[in-house]
């Protein structure tokens, strides 16, 4: 890895320069198009309109509450999905006949668009938190299961053989060998799962939530406040990127480095 002469120097951020340039160019072109006045301002707001709308939402404390509500739902839903997915994946790998029988359905359901679960969720749970959680869970569960099962299958049998030989079995074998042996793959699997959960949740929120990031997008549409619609889209993008980079990519890198799967920095 390249490093600056001092850890706190600006060199650390040098790799971000191309990304920032693209953002600046994007906003510049956007502003230019707005100034050409092809479309009316209320259909095609300027970057400044969007920013000031976000500022208003921020000062009214609406934005932070929405972020909190969405992330709380995501946390709970994704956690349940991880637990259920881990159990299902383990059963699939451990009981091969069960695994073979259920694999095509799980694979099929993984491709099923999560939004299509919404009508069912609304009938079963009404316009409630439970319905939002249901969509989040069901929208990510199958992806989590498939990738967890794949991760578990990467464990070299010789590790299990050696551990059984030293007297380990049952839960001890799972916790002390299977899970740590598959850890880098399990983290990748969780990362895939979270992106499914995130999309499912935002989708469901746009359709029927009364608080949250997705709700604010839809509220903007209802009131024909395009600056809010676009601003909330930017917020959703940023939150997603931050969670992905900040939590999952970091843990992934940490786990791989510990195993020597990446050059240590």
């Amino acid at each position: 890895m390249m490093r600056g002469r001092e850890p706190g120097s600006l060199a650390r951020f040098r790799h971000l320069v191309p990304m920032v340039l693209v953002a600046v160019a994007f906003v510049g072109i956007w502003e230019l198009i707005v100034r050409l006045q092809i479309w009316p301002r209320y259909l095609f707001p300027s970057p400044v309109d969007v920013a000031s709308s976000l500022y208003d939402l921020w000062t009214q404390a609406v934005l932070l509450r929405a972020i909190g509500a969405t992330l709380a739902r995501l946390g709970v839903g994704f956690l349940i999905s991880l637990v259920l997915g881990a159990i299902l994946a383990f059963l699939m790998v451990h009981f091969q006949t069960f695994g073979k029988g259920i694999q095509p359905y799980v694979l099929g359901l993984q491709t099923f668009p999560s939004i299509a679960w919404v009508p069912l969720a609304l009938i079963w749970f009404g316009f409630s938190e439970a319905a939002l959680l249901f969509v989040t869970i069901i929208g990510s569960l199958f992806a989590v299961t498939v990738s967890f099962a794949d991760a578990l299958r990467t464990v070299p049998p010789v590790y299990l053989k050696a551990a059984r030989n030293m007297g380990s079995d049952g839960m001890d074998l799972i916790l002390r060998v299977t899970v740590p042996a598959a850890l880098p793959h399990l983290i990748s699997a969780a990362k895939i799962g979270w992106s499914f959960a995130w999309r499912s949740l935002i989708g469901a929120e746009v359709i029927f939530a009364t608080v949250g990031l997705g709700f604010l997008v839809n509220q903007g549409r209802d009131a024909l406040l395009l600056p809010q619609v676009m601003g909330m889209m930017v917020v959703i993008l940023l939150v997603g990127v931050l969670v992905d980079r900040g939590i999952f990519s970091r843990t992934q890198e940490w786990a791989s480095r510990r195993r020597g799967l990446l050059p240590s920095g």
């Binding site: 030989n165 007297g167 740590p180 195993r259």
Partner: protein, 261 residues
């Protein structure tokens, strides 16, 4: 730490593969005294690893049985530890963590565990690498970890499945002398599988030559060369010659067209 005696009675193994059933082993009878070092040598595909797995209890024989100190074995146990060809040391643990794995499973209290782990780390001369991760070690060092991880459990029987096959020649010879020294000190009953006749002759007090599939015992040679030995010890050289002759005859015979009955 005391070795155990092993007795293999009419051990046979069949696999039901995709290409129909194959017979890997047939009627293996062997008696191994406590503290003995026996090498098993044979062409690849003679079922020697299968034989070792059966003694370890990781596979069950289709016919016959294995006795340890007069009692039949059922399933794996920490009294019979295998050192695998690629070591199977755990990459998510450091050297120390690997060596204490079996002790933790056995519930040995921490205070005792640490002392014992240190003792065996010294024994395989990895003191400087106690906290190294596995990916930082060379192949030979990894096998030292595997060896220490096995010996720290003070098994009655040590089972070695071509442990040095993947190593460079110099490292392999160095590891052979490490194993020999450790055995001279511990006198753990050892069953060592290899396809390398030279290795079998340097290490084995007896050399069991297996035939090609199905594996049967084609000869048992007694090797009284004085220890510690090297590949240059005259008795070892003679032993290598004899073993090679038997193996050559075995291979020639198995390459001949078989008469269909």
């Amino acid at each position: 730490m005391k070795g155990a005696a092993l007795k293999l009675v009419m051990v046979g193994k069949r696999f039901n593969g995709k290409a129909g059933p194959t017979e890997a082993l047939r009627d293996i009878n062997l008696q191994i005294s406590e503290g003995e070092f026996v090498t098993i040598v044979g062409p690849s595909g003679c079922g020697k690893s299968t034989l070792l797995n059966i003694v370890a209890g990781l596979e069950t024989p289709t016919t016959g049985w294995v006795e340890m100190d007069g009692r039949r074995i059922h399933g794996p146990g920490a009294d019979r530890i295998v050192v695998f060809q690629d070591g199977a040391v755990f990459p998510w643990l450091d050297v120390q963590g690997n060596i204490q794995f079996g002790l933790r499973v056995a519930g040995v209290p921490r205070s005792q565990r640490e002392a014992r782990v240190d003792e065996y780390i010294r024994m395989v001369q990895l003191e400087k690498f106690a906290h190294a991760r596995i990916h930082e070690l060379s192949g030979g060092m990894r096998q030292r970890v595997a060896l220490a991880r096995a010996l720290v459990l003070r098994p009655s029987v040590l089972l070695m499945d071509e442990p040095f096959a993947a190593l460079d020649v110099q490292i392999r010879e160095e590891m052979q002398s490490v194993v020999q020294d450790l055995w001279l000190r511990s006198k753990t009953t050892t069953l060592f599988v290899t396809h390398d006749v030279r290795e079998a002759a340097v290490l084995g007090g007896r050399i069991v030559v297996l035939s090609h599939r199905p594996g049967t015992v084609s000869a048992v040679l007694t090797n009284n060369a004085p220890r510690p030995r090297t590949l240059e010890t005259p008795e070892v050289v003679e032993q290598i010659r004899r073993s090679n002759e038997i193996l050559k005859a075995e291979v020639q015979w198995s390459n001949q067209p078989k008469i269909q009955l």
